[in-house]
Amino acid sequence: MRFELEKRSERSLVMAWASPVIAVVATMITGGLIFAILGKPPLTALWVFFVEPFSSLWSLQELVVKATPLILIGVGLSVAYRANVWNIGAEGQLTAGALAGSMVPILFNSWQSPLTLVAMLVLGILGGMIWALVPALLKVKTGANEILVSLMMVYVAQLLLDWLVRGPWRDPHGYNFPKSVSFEDWQTMPTIGDGRLNIGIVIAVVVAIALAVLMRRTIKGYEVRVMGEAPRAGRFAGFSADRMVIFVFLLSGGLAGLAGVIEVASTVGQLQPNISPGYGFTAIIVAFLGRLDPIGVVVAALMLAVSYLGGEAAQIALGLSDKAARVFQGVLLFWVLACDTLILYRPRLVFGTTPEAAR
């Protein structure tokens, strides 16, 4: 007896919509069981996890702040992955973008005008692009595996950041502690309201919509999909695989760089050894959770942000360990992906003969 997944010939539209709901319900039940085993009241725990992040203006703002970099990076990666190009190094491109953008406030500290911020954002995009160009060119010119090269570039970027903030870019009045000067006024993202919410989210949503249009309504989007699903057919149609690699790396790298500079110009407010809690890697999950669709990515990024904030709230309100919160995140991802798989595939128990015996 064995277990098989068989591709469904037709996808149920109802199930496609119902699947996320089923996943969330299943997560609640599993999560409730876990909380009960840990000796926490399951309903309170679920309330803290899922509802509290939406219960005040402040936590809603924080939710959006947390989701902003995930959206920016996730939408870029979703296009790259659609083209079957595996950029794993968004974290490095984020760091490179943050570094490039920070040149403005650190090296030209007294320059204050709206153009300062524009220059920072543009440099951030360029920084991310340059970082992404390395694995792209190496793949095109030498056939080097882009997964490895882009991943290794992450460590190069992080060590470069580390060196800069401990060395040349260290705040001269900072008692030798590893951080740059604080960014002020036009060196930071304008905020919306009195919290940490800033115009970064506006940029992220505009980018997501633009990429959704690109993928659905333009030749370029068609090209991306063809090159991803049937590269041979794409070549017959006159599309260049090399140019596609470079295009998606520049796009995803540039967006990761933009996310990086927005982070240092908003939530962090300076350069320091840690500027991202792994957004570039989390965004890979976000991209897949959003089914490699830009609008889906926005929803997925918000969902992950909820689980982070909920986990934090649960620690405080219930004394739930940080580890339990992560397990809960894992359970959520498990059910979402499981439900998605079952839309595309039919599980089947095959009794009796094995393929060998049947032959």
């Binding site: 309903l43 509802v51 401990r166 030798n176 502690f177 590893p178 939530t267 840690n274 360990s321 940080d322």
Partner: protein, 362 residues
């Protein structure tokens, strides 16, 4: 604070609705104990690291034990020193905590930012240098302990090579390396210190690798300024000696640990919370050492009695002020000589003393 008069009726409706849903879900939570003081802690690592964060959490538990039903404590662990720190701190401030302890250097600017928004909440930030009306700073003179273990290491080494595993080249760590070396040199002029930077406060895998590398380079004693027990466990495996960091790690390596530099925050935390309760809290800068019991070395074992007696004599000297690790003439790595360093010089130290086999990064 929010302008409450601007609250619309819709807001009120929403709040009421949320409240009723909360009740319906059976989530009324613990009854709000209005007369209890709420105190909270933010940790950079897991409370189960058996090192730095663990030791701070021991302090939190001491507060609970000492003040019993007068306080309610809570904590957030594993908070990265990045964009998430400000949110974690602000959440605690919004949660009604009256004093919040932020226990890692990287929480400095987030603490200051949140403190500005919540002027009624008190904050105490560990190992930083920015203070405000409602922000205190506190740290321990870890270097005093390092001078003592340096002396022990200087006496005990046979290869004259000591391995030192370190996290980040901030002044606290650099002054610790120097104090260790000065202690070692005070009893053994030929001693060498080899250094490996792991660029993390807590990374058992990297710390164990660093320990193996240092042993391979001839080190027969290990010490560390990172928080996991991994280096000591490697030392025990290889049959050499070492020192614990932040907390007493003897149970993880009973044959290898001579002693440890433990941070004892209990007294400080209890005192701070008591002051908030009494309404006498003021922003202060605390930097205590062995004399006040903030740096404590657990009983010295695995060494001959004369070494133990020497170390205990040194500790007594540090406590009564007759021995100052950074007193007297000190030769820097570049050959220049400095004398009797003051607190400011120790707090911004970015150079090595002579004899350290490493170049300071950055």
């Amino acid at each position: 604070m929010k302008n409450w008069s601007a609250l619309t009726r819709r807001d009120a409706m929403k709040t009421a609705l949320l409240g009723s849903v909360a009740l319906a879900a059976g989530a009324a939570g613990p009854a709000a104990a209005a007369d209890k003081l709420k105190a909270a802690w933010v940790y950079v690592g897991p409370v189960g690291d058996f090192g730095y964060s663990y030791q701070h959490d021991q302090g939190r538990k001491a507060v609970e034990k000492e003040l019993g039903d007068k306080v309610v404590t809570s904590y957030v662990e594993n908070v990265p020193e990045g964009p998430d720190a400000e949110r974690a701190i602000e959440r605690l401030a919004r949660d009604g905590n009256q004093i919040i302890f932020t226990t890692s250097f990287g929480f400095m600017d987030p603490t200051i930012k949140v403190a500005k928004k919540y002027p009624k909440v008190k904050f105490a930030h560990a190992t930083g240098y920015k203070r405000a009306e409602n922000v205190s700073t506190f740290s321990a003179r870890f270097y005093e302990g390092r001078y003592v273990i340096g002396q022990i290491a200087g006496k005990m080494t046979k290869s004259n090579v000591i391995g030192y595993i370190v996290s980040f080249p901030i002044p606290e760590v650099v002054s610790g390396i120097n104090a260790f070396m000065l202690g070692a040199q005070s009893v053994n002029p030929n001693v060498k210190v080899k250094i490996v930077w792991v660029n993390s406060w807590y990374d058992p895998g990297k710390e164990a690798d660093a320990a193996k590398v240092l042993i391979g380079q001839g080190a027969d004693i290990l010490t560390q300024h990172t928080d996991s027990t991994a280096p000591l466990q490697v030392a025990q495996e290889k049959g050499i000696l070492g020192f614990g960091q932040s907390s007493d790690m003897a149970k993880f390596a009973p044959k290898a640990q001579i002693t440890a530099i433990t941070d004892d925050w209990d007294g400080y935390y209890v005192d701070q919370v008591k002051q908030v309760l009494a309404g006498t809290w003021k922003s202060t800068d605390t930097w205590d050492g062995m004399a006040k019991g903030m740096v404590v070395l657990p009983p010295i074992v695995n060494v001959p009695d004369d070494v133990k007696a020497m170390a205990e004599k040194t500790m007594a000297g540090i406590k009564d002020g007759s021995i100052k690790p950074f007193g007297g003439k000190i030769t820097k790595q570049d050959g220049t000589v400095v004398e009797n360093l003051d607190d400011g010089a120790i707090l911004s130290m970015n150079w090595y003393v002579k004899g350290i086999d490493d170049k300071l990064p950055g």
